[in-house]
Amino acid sequence: MATVQHAVQDVYEPSLFGTYSKKIGMWLFLASDSLTFGALLFAYSYNRIANPAWPTPFHKESIANATVMTACLLSSSLTMVLGVLAANRGDKAWTRNWLLATMFFGAAFTVLHAMEWTKLMGEGMMPWKNPWAETVPQFGGTFFTLTGMHMLHVTIGVIYLGVIALRKKFLPILLLLWLAGWLATPAQSIFHYGIHVLLLGAIVSAIILFLKPKDYDSQDVEVAGLYWHFVDLVWMFIFPLVYLMSTKVV
């Protein structure tokens, strides 16, 4: 009986898109995430234009704060791309430094945003009501949903970058931040409960770091960079549509 011999393939077929699969996977994820934000922004814009009574409560302090937040995110994108360049040339020290700088700007953005939320809630704004337009209760809901989703993405991004930059050394830092945040925020603040995102992030990071320990290379830094730039890109739409379209003209 004749035997059939198949040619042994010892290499994978070349990628359809000329790049490594991790990058393609991240691009696919970002394409799907862009549709999530796209749908939310589309619905928000529709509501905004359709309603002549839409409140415009963001006076110059809020706009200045949001502009500083935008500058933080844009600067974080610059430091991220410089980190990718450092990773490409094999400079581990400067890769870590640029990633830490990116995390700093990201954390600054989140803190400023949390302060903005606290101020607005202090003025009586909730997801189901606001003090400026009783006939437009969806103002709070759309604002907190859009900015909350984005803030969650930024927080996850900071944790992601911390894992890439510091690996297991990041876990005690993250747990310390969680504990400090939980103890420092008053019990009636939403962030007293929202801070548990850091604990969840620490648990997930620990599972990944201990089950699959590896030395993250330039490809991992580049893929993390793609996620971070996407987070910045989404804010380029949220900032003008949510804040600038509701500026209080005095």
Binding site: F17, F42, Y46, I49, N51, T67, L78, L85, H229, L241
Partner: protein, 104 residues
């Protein structure tokens, strides 16, 4: 293995220019909004155009899509644009009529 070093031809200076351009466009948006230069519908259109320009700068330079091969660029652009078109078409004709109702 994908050669990350060879793929991206931009220098550090290019990234600084892009960063400066993004900050400048942000300043333009803030000035336009704060001075209430345009009416809400026109303001939304202008802000959307500026946001798309900023998004293009980030995607092409910071995310290095400019350095990727053409099939990948076009596939991403067409698929995401196609999905946004589908969002609009489900609201048609209300999506267009809304411009003439409510806020002027």
């Amino acid at each position: 293995m994908h050669d990350v070093t060879a793929a991206h031809g931009e220098s550090k200076l290019t990234y600084f220019w892009v960063w400066g351009g993004l900050l400048f466009l942000t300043a333009v948006e803030v000035v336009l909004a704060y001075r209430q230069v345009l009416q809400p519908v026109r303001m939304l259109e202008v802000l959307l155009v500026l946001s798309v320009i900023k998004a293009a700068l980030i995607t092409l330079y910071f995310m290095h899509l400019k350095s990727e091969i053409r099939p990948m660029r076009w596939l991403l652009l067409i698929s995401v644009s196609g999905c946004f078109f589908l969002m609009w078409v489900f609201f048609f004709p209300d999506a267009n009529r809304i411009i003439h109702l409510g806020v002027k």
